[in-house]
């Protein structure tokens, strides 16, 4: 077995055991990434030197018999919308292309303090706006299982890097499905935690009331381990909950789901799911039923008909406000102009890509005088109806099974000219953000074309423990995530 094939937990155990060193693990990871990157384009920047310094310090700690940290020597890829001090953080946008933040995001500090080595930054849709990782100023990331296909987005590089074996662990962010969709398309585990579980300090804001950081990994043990590290309470983020976090890996031991209820959403029958995805959902339900769970039908009528409309009002509204800070004055790209108005107009024209412009314009429109009540306030009310529908469902069940997407990974270019069709891909993931719930994407196997088939387990707020239990039962049945050859077409 090669070192890059190990899970994060195996790496930490091996390093503590002195089976291998952190520097050896890092070299294996960098070699793997270096050999596949030209085919996959999963990264926007390498930080090999900084990673090497970090790995060497883990090895020194081991040599001195000091505690090396919960993520000792684990190579990690960080989505390029999280600030890394002195290392390019571009959000895959021309407006931030050469920007080096003067500080670290809290999650970056947290994983580095536990001994992780950040090998670089992961490709993404510009400002996390997209479902395919094609809207990147660095060009699209490619799916390691079929390089003609998309990785899913927006955290496409984070998913592809884990699926291709660059790293055992990566960080993504999820505003409407941006962790769960690429996890599903690339065949990894991906967790979008409850809103408020993980600090957003240093996460470049897209839609502040929906954004949440979470991990990608190939095993459930690694999801639990990384969540433990990431979920630390942070006074720098006022929306980061002060509630005590549980010991997440204790959820993985459970063998039986006796007495647990799993919800199947009635309104799914109205959707045109691909037979492969329908099969994945059925297989998941059967496995959970075999473990003792009872399957119960739940209804989310407003969520399923109006979630998309409410999301594409609220997320762009927040984005238009958050992205007002890119003005060519304080940092990032700037177009020289004789007067301030033209500095703004021209800098933003040159700096933002098409999808970001669409969202800024949509958001500005729904917030503008005369339309604010009809659109923004209505969507806020619908958001509450959706939250109540989920609350009512979770009074009956412990989790809800949904697809990540109506179909597996599509071809690069297939939907790029049809933004609204692209938005529809997120119909099953975005309601979870509107209600602030946790969602876990699990790989159930592969289609006849060799494409990963993911499903999503959704829990009530702070229901991560139940999701981890069910995810680990599914892992025992379907196996841990496999490493793709990358570049090899099948």
């Amino acid at each position: 077995m090669k070192l890059y094939e190990l899970s994060a937990s195996e790496i930490v155990r091996g390093i503590r055991n002195k089976d291998f060193s952190a520097v050896e693990v890092l070299r294996s990871s960098l070699d793997r990434a270096g050999s596949l990157e030209k085919d996959l384009n999963a990264m926007t920047a390498f930080s090999s030197e900084e990673a090497m310094v970090q790995a060497a310090s883990v090895d020194e700690a081991i040599a001195r018999n000091e505690e090396p940290g919960m993520l000792a020597g684990v190579p990690v890829l960080v989505k390029d919308n999280m600030c890394t001090k002195g290392i390019n953080t571009s959000c895959a946008s021309n407006i931030l292309k050469d920007w080096k933040p003067p500080y670290n995001a809290t999650v970056v500090d947290l994983i580095e303090n536990e001994g992780a080595s950040i090998i670089g930054k992961a490709n993404m849709d510009e400002f996390a706006m997209g479902s395919s990782c094609e809207h990147s100023a660095f060009g699209p990331a490619h799916n390691p299982w079929d390089t003609d296909r998309v990785t899913g987005g927006s955290s496409g590089g984070s998913a592809a890097g884990v699926a291709a074996g660059y790293v055992p662990l990566s960080l993504g962010s999820d505003t409407g499905g941006s962790i769960r969709l690429p996890a599903g398309f690339c065949g990894t585990f991906g967790l979008k935690p409850t809103y408020g579980m993980v600090s957003r300090y240093g996460l470049i804001a897209f839609a502040s009331s929906l954004d949440q950081i979470g991990p990608f990994a190939r095993t459930m043990e690694d999801i639990a381990l990384s969540l433990q590290v990431l979920s630390a309470i942070d006074p720098k983020d006022s929306t980061c909950s002060r509630r005590q976090r549980p010991v997440f890996n204790s959820a993985l031991q459970r063998e039986s789901l006796k007495g647990r209820k799993v919800g199947l959403v009635k309104e799914f029958s109205e959707y045109d799911l691909s037979p492969d995805i329908q099969g994945a959902v059925n297989k998941t339900l059967r496995t959970l039923e075999d473990a003792g769970a009872e399957i119960v039908e739940v209804s989310l009528p407003v969520t399923m008909t109006s979630g998309l409309g409410a999301y594409y009002i609220l997320a762009p509204a927040e984005a238009s406000s958050n992205l007002a800070r890119y003005d060519g004055v304080k940092y990032g790209h700037s177009e020289p102009s004789d007067d301030l108005l033209n500095l703004y107009l021209k800098t933003r024209k040159a700096g933002f890509g098409d999808e970001v412009k669409r969202r800024i314009l949509t958001g500005t429109y729904v917030l503008s005088s005369g339309y604010y009540d009809a659109y923004y306030l209505t969507a806020q009310k619908v958001r509450q109806v959706i939250t109540r529908e989920f609350n009512a469902a979770f009074a009956q069940v412990d989790s809800i099974i949904m697809p990540d997407s109506p179909a597996p990974a599509f071809r690069i270019g297939e939907l790029i000219d049809d933004p609204i069709q692209m938005y529809m891909i997120d119909v099953f993931t975005l309601p979870v953000n509107l209600a602030g719930l946790p969602g876990l994407s699990v790989n159930t196997g592969f289609s006849s074309q060799g494409l990963p088939l993911g499903v999503q387990l959704v829990g009530p707020k702070w229901g991560e423990m139940q999701l981890l239990s069910q995810g680990s039962i599914l892992e025992k049945e379907f196996g841990s995530a496999k490493i793709a050859d990358g570049g090899e077409k099948r």
Partner: protein, 100 residues
Amino acid sequence: MAISEEVVKRVAMLARLEIDETEASSMAQHFDGILEHFNRLQELDLEGINPFVMEGIEGTPLREDEVRPWGNRDEALRQAPDSDGDFFRVPSILGEEDKI
């Protein structure tokens, strides 16, 4: 309700985003498609729901009002497109109102 290219251009000015004719026309088309989804929300019964409440949010935590130095000012200023001593520099702003 269709949105004209004129409205798109006005919105773009509000957003301080220059757009050309092609972008204005493609954006007007995009609005036609997305408004269909937005207008569906008007059909729901939303009587009595307060839009300013976020269910399940723990409230705003308070903290002591203490000075905590942030040692990165020089680095932040160094990356500014244009700066002057401790300040960001911008082009002349007087007379701007006439243009908007």
